[in-house]
Protein backbone atom coordinates (compact mmCIF):
# COMPACT_ATOMS: atom_id res chain seq x y z
CA UNK A 1 0.00 0.00 0.00
CA UNK A 2 2.68 2.42 1.08
CA UNK A 3 4.83 1.65 -1.91
CA UNK A 4 1.90 2.31 -4.17
CA UNK A 5 1.52 5.75 -2.81
CA UNK A 6 5.16 6.57 -2.89
CA UNK A 7 5.54 5.56 -6.47
CA UNK A 8 2.53 7.39 -7.69
CA UNK A 9 3.25 10.26 -5.37
CA UNK A 10 6.59 10.58 -7.07
CA UNK A 11 4.91 10.84 -10.38
CA UNK A 12 2.56 13.43 -8.99
CA UNK A 13 5.42 15.54 -7.76
CA UNK A 14 6.99 15.53 -11.17
CA UNK A 15 3.91 16.95 -12.69
CA UNK A 16 2.90 19.19 -9.85
CA UNK A 17 2.84 22.28 -12.01
CA UNK A 18 0.68 20.66 -14.57
CA UNK A 19 -2.55 22.28 -15.51
CA UNK A 20 -6.02 20.77 -15.23
CA UNK A 21 -6.13 19.93 -18.89
CA UNK A 22 -2.78 18.27 -18.71
CA UNK A 23 -4.05 16.26 -15.77
CA UNK A 24 -7.05 15.16 -17.73
CA UNK A 25 -4.92 14.46 -20.74
CA UNK A 26 -2.64 12.33 -18.73
CA UNK A 27 -5.58 10.30 -17.44
CA UNK A 28 -7.27 10.30 -20.80
CA UNK A 29 -7.13 6.55 -21.23
CA UNK A 30 -8.47 6.08 -17.75
CA UNK A 31 -11.38 8.36 -18.62
CA UNK A 32 -11.91 6.37 -21.75
CA UNK A 33 -12.07 3.19 -19.73
CA UNK A 34 -14.27 4.78 -17.13
CA UNK A 35 -16.69 6.27 -19.62
CA UNK A 36 -19.01 3.30 -20.08
CA UNK A 37 -19.32 2.49 -16.38
CA UNK A 38 -20.10 6.13 -15.73
CA UNK A 39 -22.84 6.05 -18.36
CA UNK A 40 -24.21 2.99 -16.64
CA UNK A 41 -24.36 4.72 -13.29
CA UNK A 42 -26.00 7.78 -14.73
CA UNK A 43 -28.58 5.82 -16.69
CA UNK A 44 -29.61 3.19 -14.21
CA UNK A 45 -28.87 4.85 -10.92
CA UNK A 46 -28.87 8.62 -11.11
CA UNK A 47 -31.64 9.02 -13.63
CA UNK A 48 -34.16 7.00 -11.59
CA UNK A 49 -33.05 8.81 -8.47
CA UNK A 50 -35.43 11.64 -9.24
CA UNK A 51 -38.04 9.19 -8.00
CA UNK A 52 -36.98 10.01 -4.47
CA UNK A 53 -39.07 13.15 -4.64
CA UNK A 54 -42.21 11.07 -4.26
CA UNK A 55 -41.25 10.85 -0.59
CA UNK A 56 -42.31 14.49 -0.45
CA UNK A 57 -45.41 14.02 -2.58
CA UNK A 58 -48.63 12.07 -2.65
CA UNK A 59 -47.92 9.82 -5.55
CA UNK A 60 -50.64 9.68 -8.15
CA UNK A 61 -50.33 7.22 -11.00
CA UNK A 62 -51.82 9.26 -13.76
CA UNK A 63 -50.13 12.51 -12.81
CA UNK A 64 -46.82 10.69 -12.63
CA UNK A 65 -43.86 11.29 -10.38
CA UNK A 66 -43.31 14.89 -11.42
CA UNK A 67 -46.95 15.89 -11.56
CA UNK A 68 -48.06 14.57 -8.18
CA UNK A 69 -48.87 17.16 -5.52
CA UNK A 70 -46.20 18.17 -3.00
CA UNK A 71 -46.93 17.39 0.63
CA UNK A 72 -43.62 18.33 2.19
CA UNK A 73 -42.55 16.24 5.14
CA UNK A 74 -45.96 14.69 5.76
CA UNK A 75 -44.78 11.12 5.33
CA UNK A 76 -41.64 11.65 7.38
CA UNK A 77 -43.68 13.17 10.16
CA UNK A 78 -46.01 10.23 10.04
CA UNK A 79 -43.37 7.69 10.88
CA UNK A 80 -41.04 9.80 12.95
CA UNK A 81 -43.86 10.73 15.29
CA UNK A 82 -45.16 7.18 15.49
CA UNK A 83 -44.26 6.17 19.05
CA UNK A 84 -43.69 2.62 17.86
CA UNK A 85 -41.15 3.78 15.32
CA UNK A 86 -38.27 4.16 17.75
CA UNK A 87 -38.76 0.63 18.95
CA UNK A 88 -38.41 -0.45 15.34
CA UNK A 89 -35.22 1.57 14.96
CA UNK A 90 -33.88 -0.02 18.11
CA UNK A 91 -34.72 -3.55 16.94
CA UNK A 92 -33.23 -2.91 13.53
CA UNK A 93 -30.01 -1.55 14.99
CA UNK A 94 -29.69 -4.32 17.56
CA UNK A 95 -30.11 -7.12 15.06
CA UNK A 96 -27.54 -5.50 12.81
CA UNK A 97 -25.06 -4.74 15.57
CA UNK A 98 -25.20 -8.27 16.95
CA UNK A 99 -24.96 -9.43 13.38
CA UNK A 100 -21.84 -7.34 12.90
CA UNK A 101 -20.36 -8.85 16.00
CA UNK A 102 -21.05 -12.47 15.07
CA UNK A 103 -21.79 -12.73 11.36
CA UNK A 104 -19.11 -10.39 10.13
CA UNK A 105 -16.05 -12.20 11.54
CA UNK A 106 -17.38 -15.69 10.81
CA UNK A 107 -16.36 -15.90 7.14
CA UNK A 108 -12.97 -14.37 7.95
CA UNK A 109 -12.36 -17.03 10.57
CA UNK A 110 -13.48 -19.72 8.18
CA UNK A 111 -11.17 -18.43 5.47
CA UNK A 112 -8.25 -18.39 7.89
CA UNK A 113 -9.01 -21.89 9.14
CA UNK A 114 -9.22 -23.14 5.59
CA UNK A 115 -5.97 -21.40 4.84
CA UNK A 116 -4.24 -23.28 7.63
CA UNK A 117 -5.27 -26.69 6.35
CA UNK A 118 -2.23 -28.61 5.23
CA UNK A 119 -4.32 -31.01 3.15
CA UNK A 120 -5.27 -29.56 -0.17
CA UNK A 121 -7.98 -32.05 -1.04
CA UNK A 122 -9.78 -31.60 2.24
CA UNK A 123 -9.56 -27.86 1.89
CA UNK A 124 -11.14 -27.99 -1.53
CA UNK A 125 -13.84 -30.26 -0.26
CA UNK A 126 -14.77 -28.10 2.71
CA UNK A 127 -14.68 -25.03 0.54
CA UNK A 128 -17.02 -26.44 -2.03
CA UNK A 129 -19.63 -27.70 0.37
CA UNK A 130 -19.63 -24.86 2.86
CA UNK A 131 -21.42 -22.54 0.49
CA UNK A 132 -24.26 -24.97 -0.29
CA UNK A 133 -26.81 -23.37 2.07
CA UNK A 134 -26.42 -20.12 0.19
CA UNK A 135 -28.42 -21.66 -2.64
CA UNK A 136 -31.44 -22.70 -0.64
CA UNK A 137 -34.19 -20.15 -0.84
CA UNK A 138 -35.15 -18.25 2.28
CA UNK A 139 -38.60 -19.78 2.36
CA UNK A 140 -37.18 -23.27 2.53
CA UNK A 141 -34.51 -22.31 5.04
CA UNK A 142 -37.11 -20.81 7.32
CA UNK A 143 -39.29 -23.89 6.99
CA UNK A 144 -36.32 -25.93 8.18
CA UNK A 145 -35.64 -23.59 11.07
CA UNK A 146 -39.23 -23.85 12.25
CA UNK A 147 -39.08 -27.64 12.02
CA UNK A 148 -35.83 -27.81 13.89
CA UNK A 149 -36.94 -25.56 16.71
CA UNK A 150 -40.49 -26.84 17.16
CA UNK A 151 -41.42 -28.22 20.53
CA UNK A 152 -40.60 -31.77 19.50
CA UNK A 153 -37.96 -30.75 17.01
CA UNK A 154 -34.32 -31.73 16.95
CA UNK A 155 -33.04 -29.06 19.33
CA UNK A 156 -35.68 -29.69 21.95
CA UNK A 157 -35.09 -33.42 21.79
CA UNK A 158 -31.47 -32.77 22.64
CA UNK A 159 -32.48 -30.51 25.50
CA UNK A 160 -34.77 -33.18 26.87
CA UNK A 161 -32.10 -35.84 26.53
CA UNK A 162 -29.87 -33.55 28.59
CA UNK A 163 -32.59 -33.34 31.21
CA UNK A 164 -33.49 -29.76 30.42
CA UNK A 165 -36.89 -28.22 29.85
CA UNK A 166 -38.36 -27.66 26.43
CA UNK A 167 -37.97 -24.16 25.08
CA UNK A 168 -40.44 -22.71 22.63
CA UNK A 169 -37.74 -20.88 20.77
CA UNK A 170 -39.87 -19.20 18.18
CA UNK A 171 -42.30 -17.76 20.68
CA UNK A 172 -39.69 -16.26 22.96
CA UNK A 173 -38.64 -12.72 22.09
CA UNK A 174 -35.28 -13.21 23.82
CA UNK A 175 -34.37 -15.99 21.37
CA UNK A 176 -35.26 -14.25 18.18
CA UNK A 177 -32.00 -12.46 17.46
CA UNK A 178 -29.96 -15.54 18.22
CA UNK A 179 -32.02 -17.61 15.82
CA UNK A 180 -31.95 -14.97 13.14
CA UNK A 181 -28.21 -14.40 13.33
CA UNK A 182 -27.15 -18.02 13.80
CA UNK A 183 -29.18 -19.15 10.83
CA UNK A 184 -27.76 -16.25 8.84
CA UNK A 185 -24.22 -17.37 9.62
CA UNK A 186 -25.06 -20.92 8.66
CA UNK A 187 -26.47 -19.73 5.38
CA UNK A 188 -23.72 -17.35 4.41
CA UNK A 189 -20.47 -18.20 6.12
CA UNK A 190 -19.13 -20.30 3.27
CA UNK A 191 -20.25 -17.91 0.62
CA UNK A 192 -18.88 -14.92 2.49
CA UNK A 193 -15.50 -16.55 2.89
CA UNK A 194 -14.97 -16.66 -0.87
CA UNK A 195 -14.01 -12.99 -0.96
CA UNK A 196 -11.41 -13.51 1.74
CA UNK A 197 -10.08 -16.62 0.08
CA UNK A 198 -9.59 -14.63 -3.08
CA UNK A 199 -7.76 -11.98 -1.08
CA UNK A 200 -5.64 -14.67 0.57
CA UNK A 201 -4.77 -16.02 -2.83
CA UNK A 202 -3.39 -12.61 -3.68
CA UNK A 203 -0.79 -12.59 -0.91
CA UNK A 204 2.77 -12.89 -2.13
CA UNK A 205 4.02 -16.39 -1.36
CA UNK A 206 7.57 -15.10 -1.04
CA UNK A 207 6.61 -13.32 2.15
CA UNK A 208 5.80 -16.66 3.76
CA UNK A 209 8.99 -18.18 2.51
CA UNK A 210 11.01 -15.35 3.93
CA UNK A 211 9.19 -15.60 7.25
CA UNK A 212 9.80 -19.32 7.41
CA UNK A 213 13.47 -18.75 6.88
CA UNK A 214 13.37 -16.19 9.69
CA UNK A 215 11.89 -18.90 11.91
CA UNK A 216 8.42 -17.44 12.34
CA UNK A 217 5.84 -20.06 13.32
CA UNK A 218 2.40 -20.41 11.78
CA UNK A 219 0.74 -18.23 14.35
CA UNK A 220 3.20 -15.42 13.82
CA UNK A 221 2.89 -15.76 10.07
CA UNK A 222 -0.84 -15.39 10.38
CA UNK A 223 -0.56 -12.29 12.52
CA UNK A 224 2.14 -10.61 10.51
CA UNK A 225 1.51 -11.72 6.95
CA UNK A 226 -1.91 -13.24 6.43
CA UNK A 227 -4.00 -10.75 8.38
CA UNK A 228 -2.29 -7.63 7.07
CA UNK A 229 -2.62 -9.14 3.61
CA UNK A 230 -6.38 -9.30 3.78
CA UNK A 231 -6.79 -6.20 5.91
CA UNK A 232 -7.86 -3.94 3.05
CA UNK A 233 -10.62 -6.37 2.11
CA UNK A 234 -11.74 -6.63 5.71
CA UNK A 235 -11.83 -2.84 6.10
CA UNK A 236 -13.84 -2.36 2.96
CA UNK A 237 -16.32 -5.04 3.90
CA UNK A 238 -16.65 -3.57 7.37
CA UNK A 239 -17.28 -0.07 6.07
CA UNK A 240 -19.95 -1.30 3.72
CA UNK A 241 -21.57 -3.31 6.47
CA UNK A 242 -21.61 -0.30 8.75
CA UNK A 243 -23.42 1.62 6.07
CA UNK A 244 -26.20 -0.92 6.23
CA UNK A 245 -26.83 -0.79 9.94
CA UNK A 246 -30.21 0.81 9.48
CA UNK A 247 -31.60 -1.51 6.86
CA UNK A 248 -32.61 -5.12 7.00
CA UNK A 249 -34.55 -7.27 4.57
CA UNK A 250 -38.04 -8.26 5.58
CA UNK A 251 -38.54 -11.61 3.90
CA UNK A 252 -36.76 -13.79 6.40
CA UNK A 253 -38.09 -11.94 9.43
CA UNK A 254 -41.63 -12.19 8.20
CA UNK A 255 -41.23 -15.92 7.87
CA UNK A 256 -39.83 -16.30 11.37
CA UNK A 257 -41.63 -13.84 13.57
CA UNK A 258 -45.07 -13.79 15.09
CA UNK A 259 -47.02 -11.59 17.43
CA UNK A 260 -45.31 -12.93 20.53
CA UNK A 261 -41.84 -12.05 19.26
CA UNK A 262 -42.62 -8.60 17.81
CA UNK A 263 -40.94 -7.13 20.84
CA UNK A 264 -37.51 -7.95 19.44
CA UNK A 265 -38.27 -9.06 15.90
CA UNK A 266 -40.31 -6.25 14.46
CA UNK A 267 -38.04 -4.01 12.39
CA UNK A 268 -38.55 -1.00 10.16
CA UNK A 269 -38.96 -2.96 6.97
CA UNK A 270 -41.45 -5.45 8.39
CA UNK A 271 -43.56 -2.68 9.85
CA UNK A 272 -43.58 -0.82 6.58
CA UNK A 273 -44.47 -4.07 4.86
CA UNK A 274 -47.38 -4.66 7.21
CA UNK A 275 -48.44 -1.08 7.12
CA UNK A 276 -49.05 -1.37 3.48
CA UNK A 277 -46.19 -1.50 1.09
CA UNK A 278 -48.70 -3.79 -0.50
CA UNK A 279 -51.32 -1.12 0.01
CA UNK A 280 -49.82 1.11 -2.66
CA UNK A 281 -48.43 3.65 -0.26
CA UNK A 282 -45.35 4.26 -2.35
CA UNK A 283 -44.76 7.71 -0.97
CA UNK A 284 -44.64 6.44 2.59
CA UNK A 285 -42.40 3.52 1.67
CA UNK A 286 -40.05 5.83 -0.22
CA UNK A 287 -39.91 8.22 2.71
CA UNK A 288 -38.89 5.43 5.06
CA UNK A 289 -36.25 4.11 2.71
CA UNK A 290 -34.94 7.62 2.18
CA UNK A 291 -34.59 7.94 5.93
CA UNK A 292 -32.70 4.65 6.02
CA UNK A 293 -30.48 5.74 3.14
CA UNK A 294 -29.56 9.02 4.76
CA UNK A 295 -28.64 7.33 8.01
CA UNK A 296 -26.71 4.73 6.05
CA UNK A 297 -24.82 7.39 4.14
CA UNK A 298 -23.87 9.23 7.30
CA UNK A 299 -22.62 6.00 8.83
CA UNK A 300 -20.75 5.13 5.68
CA UNK A 301 -19.14 8.52 5.46
CA UNK A 302 -18.06 8.48 9.10
CA UNK A 303 -16.70 4.97 9.09
CA UNK A 304 -14.85 5.66 5.87
CA UNK A 305 -13.24 8.73 7.47
CA UNK A 306 -12.20 6.73 10.48
CA UNK A 307 -10.85 3.94 8.36
CA UNK A 308 -8.88 6.37 6.22
CA UNK A 309 -7.33 7.84 9.33
CA UNK A 310 -6.51 4.54 10.97
CA UNK A 311 -5.44 2.35 8.14
CA UNK A 312 -5.21 4.40 4.99
CA UNK A 313 -7.76 2.15 3.34
CA UNK A 314 -11.18 3.39 2.54
CA UNK A 315 -13.84 3.46 -0.07
CA UNK A 316 -12.66 6.78 -1.40
Amino acid sequence: MKTTQNAIGGKMREKRKSHFIRQVKRSKYLYLIFFLPLCYYILFHYWPMYGIIIAFKDYNVVKGILGSPWVGFKHFEKFLTDPYFWKLVRNTLLINIYGLFWSFPAPIVLALLLNELPNRGFKKFVQSVSYLPHFISTVVVCGMIVNFLSSDGFVNQILIALGRERIQFLMRPEWFRTIYIASGIWQNVGWGSIVYLAALAGIDEELYEAATIDGANRWKQMIHITLPGIKPTISIMLIMNLGRLMSIGYEKIILLYNGSTYETADVISTYVYRRGLLGNDFSYATAVSLFQSVVGLILLYTSNKISNKLSETGLW
Binding site: F34, M49, S128, S137, A201
Partner: protein, 298 residues
Protein backbone atom coordinates in the same frame (compact mmCIF):
# COMPACT_ATOMS: atom_id res chain seq x y z
CA UNK B 1 0.04 -24.04 -1.14
CA UNK B 2 1.43 -25.65 1.96
CA UNK B 3 4.02 -27.49 -0.04
CA UNK B 4 5.98 -24.30 -0.06
CA UNK B 5 5.54 -23.88 3.66
CA UNK B 6 7.38 -26.79 5.16
CA UNK B 7 7.95 -25.94 8.75
CA UNK B 8 8.44 -27.98 11.82
CA UNK B 9 5.14 -29.12 13.22
CA UNK B 10 5.14 -28.01 16.82
CA UNK B 11 2.87 -29.83 19.26
CA UNK B 12 0.75 -26.74 19.54
CA UNK B 13 0.29 -26.68 15.84
CA UNK B 14 -0.59 -30.36 15.76
CA UNK B 15 -3.31 -29.86 18.33
CA UNK B 16 -4.60 -26.88 16.43
CA UNK B 17 -4.61 -28.91 13.30
CA UNK B 18 -6.76 -31.61 14.85
CA UNK B 19 -9.22 -29.11 16.27
CA UNK B 20 -9.32 -27.30 12.97
CA UNK B 21 -10.20 -30.49 11.14
CA UNK B 22 -12.93 -31.31 13.62
CA UNK B 23 -14.40 -27.84 13.38
CA UNK B 24 -14.46 -27.92 9.64
CA UNK B 25 -15.93 -31.40 9.57
CA UNK B 26 -18.78 -30.17 11.76
CA UNK B 27 -19.26 -27.32 9.35
CA UNK B 28 -19.31 -29.72 6.44
CA UNK B 29 -21.95 -31.82 8.12
CA UNK B 30 -24.11 -28.86 9.04
CA UNK B 31 -24.00 -27.42 5.56
CA UNK B 32 -24.30 -30.64 3.61
CA UNK B 33 -27.14 -32.18 5.53
CA UNK B 34 -29.92 -29.78 4.47
CA UNK B 35 -28.95 -30.17 0.84
CA UNK B 36 -28.80 -33.91 1.31
CA UNK B 37 -32.17 -33.83 3.03
CA UNK B 38 -33.70 -31.90 0.16
CA UNK B 39 -32.27 -34.45 -2.21
CA UNK B 40 -33.58 -37.53 -0.40
CA UNK B 41 -36.99 -35.98 0.01
CA UNK B 42 -37.09 -35.24 -3.69
CA UNK B 43 -36.60 -38.92 -4.56
CA UNK B 44 -38.82 -40.32 -1.81
CA UNK B 45 -42.43 -41.27 -1.96
CA UNK B 46 -44.57 -38.33 -0.92
CA UNK B 47 -46.49 -40.28 1.70
CA UNK B 48 -43.46 -41.03 3.81
CA UNK B 49 -42.34 -37.46 3.49
CA UNK B 50 -45.60 -36.01 4.66
CA UNK B 51 -45.53 -38.38 7.60
CA UNK B 52 -42.12 -37.10 8.54
CA UNK B 53 -40.40 -40.47 8.15
CA UNK B 54 -37.66 -39.38 5.80
CA UNK B 55 -34.60 -38.25 7.71
CA UNK B 56 -31.47 -40.12 6.81
CA UNK B 57 -32.30 -42.31 3.85
CA UNK B 58 -34.82 -41.95 1.05
CA UNK B 59 -37.91 -44.09 1.49
CA UNK B 60 -39.92 -45.56 -1.35
CA UNK B 61 -37.55 -44.22 -3.97
CA UNK B 62 -39.27 -42.71 -6.98
CA UNK B 63 -38.40 -40.23 -9.66
CA UNK B 64 -42.00 -39.23 -10.22
CA UNK B 65 -41.42 -35.75 -8.83
CA UNK B 66 -38.71 -35.09 -11.39
CA UNK B 67 -40.87 -36.54 -14.13
CA UNK B 68 -43.67 -34.20 -13.19
CA UNK B 69 -41.39 -31.19 -13.23
CA UNK B 70 -39.91 -32.05 -16.58
CA UNK B 71 -43.28 -32.84 -18.08
CA UNK B 72 -43.86 -29.14 -17.97
CA UNK B 73 -42.82 -28.22 -21.50
CA UNK B 74 -41.99 -24.67 -20.49
CA UNK B 75 -39.14 -25.75 -18.34
CA UNK B 76 -36.61 -26.52 -21.05
CA UNK B 77 -37.08 -23.21 -22.76
CA UNK B 78 -36.85 -21.50 -19.41
CA UNK B 79 -33.58 -23.29 -18.73
CA UNK B 80 -32.20 -22.10 -22.01
CA UNK B 81 -33.29 -18.55 -21.21
CA UNK B 82 -31.58 -18.71 -17.85
CA UNK B 83 -28.35 -19.91 -19.41
CA UNK B 84 -28.44 -17.09 -21.94
CA UNK B 85 -29.21 -14.45 -19.34
CA UNK B 86 -26.51 -15.79 -17.06
CA UNK B 87 -23.75 -15.90 -19.67
CA UNK B 88 -24.55 -12.63 -21.37
CA UNK B 89 -25.19 -10.94 -18.04
CA UNK B 90 -22.01 -12.19 -16.43
CA UNK B 91 -19.92 -11.20 -19.43
CA UNK B 92 -21.31 -7.68 -19.30
CA UNK B 93 -20.80 -7.60 -15.54
CA UNK B 94 -17.17 -8.61 -15.72
CA UNK B 95 -16.29 -6.22 -18.52
CA UNK B 96 -18.04 -3.21 -17.04
CA UNK B 97 -16.97 -3.91 -13.48
CA UNK B 98 -13.31 -4.15 -14.38
CA UNK B 99 -13.62 -1.03 -16.52
CA UNK B 100 -15.06 0.71 -13.52
CA UNK B 101 -12.76 -0.78 -10.91
CA UNK B 102 -9.47 -0.20 -12.65
CA UNK B 103 -9.54 3.60 -12.97
CA UNK B 104 -10.85 3.84 -9.43
CA UNK B 105 -7.96 1.74 -8.19
CA UNK B 106 -5.43 4.19 -9.60
CA UNK B 107 -4.44 6.83 -7.11
CA UNK B 108 -3.32 9.11 -9.91
CA UNK B 109 -6.71 8.98 -11.62
CA UNK B 110 -7.70 12.61 -11.72
CA UNK B 111 -11.05 13.09 -9.94
CA UNK B 112 -10.88 9.68 -8.33
CA UNK B 113 -12.41 10.61 -4.94
CA UNK B 114 -15.35 12.27 -6.64
CA UNK B 115 -15.97 9.38 -8.96
CA UNK B 116 -15.64 6.89 -6.14
CA UNK B 117 -18.18 8.81 -4.16
CA UNK B 118 -20.55 8.99 -7.12
CA UNK B 119 -20.33 5.26 -7.43
CA UNK B 120 -20.49 4.40 -3.74
CA UNK B 121 -23.41 6.75 -3.24
CA UNK B 122 -25.61 4.50 -5.34
CA UNK B 123 -25.26 1.71 -2.83
CA UNK B 124 -27.27 3.68 -0.37
CA UNK B 125 -29.53 5.83 -2.42
CA UNK B 126 -31.86 4.53 -5.04
CA UNK B 127 -34.91 5.93 -6.68
CA UNK B 128 -36.82 2.76 -5.98
CA UNK B 129 -38.49 0.23 -8.18
CA UNK B 130 -41.01 2.42 -9.94
CA UNK B 131 -38.68 5.10 -11.33
CA UNK B 132 -36.28 2.38 -12.46
CA UNK B 133 -39.12 0.61 -14.20
CA UNK B 134 -40.05 3.85 -15.93
CA UNK B 135 -36.46 4.32 -17.09
CA UNK B 136 -36.29 0.80 -18.45
CA UNK B 137 -39.63 1.40 -20.11
CA UNK B 138 -38.45 4.66 -21.65
CA UNK B 139 -35.32 3.04 -22.98
CA UNK B 140 -37.56 0.51 -24.69
CA UNK B 141 -35.99 -2.44 -22.93
CA UNK B 142 -39.18 -3.97 -21.51
CA UNK B 143 -39.65 -7.60 -22.47
CA UNK B 144 -36.14 -7.90 -23.90
CA UNK B 145 -33.02 -9.58 -22.57
CA UNK B 146 -31.50 -6.12 -22.00
CA UNK B 147 -33.97 -5.35 -19.26
CA UNK B 148 -32.51 -8.34 -17.42
CA UNK B 149 -28.80 -7.82 -18.02
CA UNK B 150 -28.32 -4.06 -18.20
CA UNK B 151 -29.85 -2.65 -15.00
CA UNK B 152 -27.65 -4.85 -12.78
CA UNK B 153 -24.59 -4.45 -15.06
CA UNK B 154 -22.39 -3.37 -12.17
CA UNK B 155 -22.88 -4.48 -8.63
CA UNK B 156 -21.15 -1.72 -6.74
CA UNK B 157 -20.33 -3.96 -3.83
CA UNK B 158 -18.57 -6.45 -6.09
CA UNK B 159 -16.92 -3.71 -8.05
CA UNK B 160 -15.40 -2.24 -4.90
CA UNK B 161 -14.04 -5.61 -3.87
CA UNK B 162 -12.48 -5.82 -7.29
CA UNK B 163 -11.02 -2.35 -6.98
CA UNK B 164 -9.51 -3.24 -3.61
CA UNK B 165 -7.83 -6.20 -5.22
CA UNK B 166 -6.47 -4.10 -8.08
CA UNK B 167 -5.08 -1.61 -5.60
CA UNK B 168 -2.98 -4.31 -4.03
CA UNK B 169 -1.23 -5.20 -7.22
CA UNK B 170 2.26 -3.72 -6.88
CA UNK B 171 2.47 -0.40 -8.66
CA UNK B 172 6.04 -1.05 -9.70
CA UNK B 173 4.72 -3.38 -12.39
CA UNK B 174 2.59 -0.65 -13.88
CA UNK B 175 5.37 1.87 -13.57
CA UNK B 176 7.74 -0.19 -15.61
CA UNK B 177 5.09 -0.74 -18.25
CA UNK B 178 4.61 3.01 -18.42
CA UNK B 179 8.26 3.44 -19.00
CA UNK B 180 8.00 0.92 -21.81
CA UNK B 181 5.46 3.22 -23.41
CA UNK B 182 2.29 1.27 -22.65
CA UNK B 183 -0.91 3.22 -22.10
CA UNK B 184 -3.52 2.55 -19.43
CA UNK B 185 -5.62 0.39 -21.70
CA UNK B 186 -2.71 -1.84 -22.47
CA UNK B 187 -1.74 -2.03 -18.83
CA UNK B 188 -5.24 -3.07 -17.83
CA UNK B 189 -5.35 -5.68 -20.53
CA UNK B 190 -1.83 -7.03 -20.33
CA UNK B 191 -0.84 -6.65 -16.72
CA UNK B 192 -3.77 -6.16 -14.41
CA UNK B 193 -6.21 -8.68 -15.81
CA UNK B 194 -3.76 -11.59 -16.05
CA UNK B 195 -2.79 -10.96 -12.45
CA UNK B 196 -6.38 -10.88 -11.27
CA UNK B 197 -7.49 -14.42 -11.87
CA UNK B 198 -8.55 -15.13 -8.29
CA UNK B 199 -10.73 -12.05 -8.09
CA UNK B 200 -12.08 -12.60 -11.59
CA UNK B 201 -13.01 -16.14 -10.66
CA UNK B 202 -14.74 -14.81 -7.57
CA UNK B 203 -16.58 -12.21 -9.57
CA UNK B 204 -17.70 -14.65 -12.22
CA UNK B 205 -19.06 -16.83 -9.46
CA UNK B 206 -20.77 -13.97 -7.67
CA UNK B 207 -22.33 -12.50 -10.75
CA UNK B 208 -23.28 -15.80 -12.32
CA UNK B 209 -25.01 -16.94 -9.17
CA UNK B 210 -26.75 -13.61 -8.91
CA UNK B 211 -28.10 -13.95 -12.44
CA UNK B 212 -28.96 -17.57 -12.00
CA UNK B 213 -31.00 -16.92 -8.91
CA UNK B 214 -32.55 -13.65 -9.93
CA UNK B 215 -36.22 -13.73 -10.63
CA UNK B 216 -37.53 -10.35 -9.59
CA UNK B 217 -36.28 -8.31 -12.54
CA UNK B 218 -37.48 -11.00 -14.91
CA UNK B 219 -40.81 -10.93 -13.16
CA UNK B 220 -41.35 -7.24 -13.57
CA UNK B 221 -39.59 -6.51 -16.86
CA UNK B 222 -40.62 -9.52 -18.92
CA UNK B 223 -44.16 -10.04 -20.15
CA UNK B 224 -43.92 -13.11 -22.36
CA UNK B 225 -43.87 -16.47 -20.75
CA UNK B 226 -41.54 -17.66 -23.49
CA UNK B 227 -38.82 -15.37 -22.14
CA UNK B 228 -39.13 -16.37 -18.49
CA UNK B 229 -36.05 -17.77 -16.80
CA UNK B 230 -36.33 -21.04 -14.96
CA UNK B 231 -36.35 -19.42 -11.52
CA UNK B 232 -39.70 -17.80 -12.15
CA UNK B 233 -41.36 -21.08 -12.96
CA UNK B 234 -39.69 -22.94 -10.16
CA UNK B 235 -40.21 -20.32 -7.55
CA UNK B 236 -43.90 -20.40 -8.25
CA UNK B 237 -43.94 -24.06 -7.37
CA UNK B 238 -41.80 -23.73 -4.27
CA UNK B 239 -43.55 -20.71 -2.85
CA UNK B 240 -47.11 -21.77 -3.53
CA UNK B 241 -48.91 -22.20 -0.28
CA UNK B 242 -45.85 -21.53 1.86
CA UNK B 243 -45.28 -17.84 2.01
CA UNK B 244 -48.57 -16.21 1.40
CA UNK B 245 -51.22 -18.33 3.00
CA UNK B 246 -53.73 -17.33 0.42
CA UNK B 247 -57.10 -18.17 1.78
CA UNK B 248 -58.86 -18.14 -1.51
CA UNK B 249 -62.48 -17.52 -1.12
CA UNK B 250 -63.42 -20.73 -2.80
CA UNK B 251 -62.45 -23.37 -0.36
CA UNK B 252 -61.89 -26.24 -2.66
CA UNK B 253 -59.33 -24.49 -4.74
CA UNK B 254 -57.19 -24.06 -1.72
CA UNK B 255 -57.75 -27.55 -0.49
CA UNK B 256 -56.29 -28.84 -3.67
CA UNK B 257 -53.40 -26.42 -3.55
CA UNK B 258 -52.12 -28.83 -0.95
CA UNK B 259 -51.31 -31.16 -3.82
CA UNK B 260 -48.04 -29.33 -4.46
CA UNK B 261 -46.20 -31.97 -2.53
CA UNK B 262 -42.94 -31.69 -0.67
CA UNK B 263 -41.05 -34.06 -2.90
CA UNK B 264 -42.17 -32.10 -5.92
CA UNK B 265 -41.04 -28.85 -4.37
CA UNK B 266 -37.71 -30.26 -3.37
CA UNK B 267 -37.14 -31.80 -6.76
CA UNK B 268 -37.60 -28.32 -8.10
CA UNK B 269 -34.98 -26.95 -5.72
CA UNK B 270 -32.49 -29.60 -6.77
CA UNK B 271 -33.17 -28.91 -10.41
CA UNK B 272 -32.65 -25.21 -9.98
CA UNK B 273 -29.50 -25.45 -7.86
CA UNK B 274 -27.43 -28.25 -9.36
CA UNK B 275 -26.37 -26.58 -12.63
CA UNK B 276 -25.00 -23.50 -10.92
CA UNK B 277 -23.26 -25.61 -8.30
CA UNK B 278 -21.29 -27.21 -11.07
CA UNK B 279 -19.73 -23.88 -12.00
CA UNK B 280 -17.75 -23.72 -8.80
CA UNK B 281 -15.29 -26.57 -9.35
CA UNK B 282 -14.26 -24.98 -12.63
CA UNK B 283 -13.46 -21.73 -10.94
CA UNK B 284 -11.97 -23.21 -7.82
CA UNK B 285 -8.51 -23.78 -9.22
CA UNK B 286 -8.10 -20.05 -9.63
CA UNK B 287 -8.42 -19.58 -5.92
CA UNK B 288 -5.22 -21.49 -5.44
CA UNK B 289 -2.26 -19.51 -4.35
CA UNK B 290 0.70 -18.85 -6.51
CA UNK B 291 -1.20 -17.93 -9.60
CA UNK B 292 -0.13 -14.36 -9.20
CA UNK B 293 3.39 -15.13 -8.21
CA UNK B 294 3.87 -17.23 -11.29
CA UNK B 295 2.64 -14.41 -13.41
CA UNK B 296 4.91 -11.97 -11.67
CA UNK B 297 7.95 -14.03 -12.25
CA UNK B 298 7.03 -15.04 -15.73
Amino acid sequence: MSKTRKIKMSTGYKIFNVINHILLLILVFVTVYPMYYIFIVSISNGIYVSRGEVYLLPKGITLSAYKTVFQNSDIWRAYLNTIIYTTVGTAINIVLSSMCAYPLSRKDFYGRPVFTFIVAFTMFMSGGMIPLYLVVLKLGLIDTIWSIVLPPAINTFNMIIMRTFFQDIPVSLQESAFLDGANDLQILWKIILPLSKPIMATMVLFYAVQHWNSFFSALIYLNSKSKYPVQILLRNIVIAGEFADQQTSIGNVESNFAVVAMNYKYAVIIISVVPILMVYPFLQKHFAKGVMIGALKG
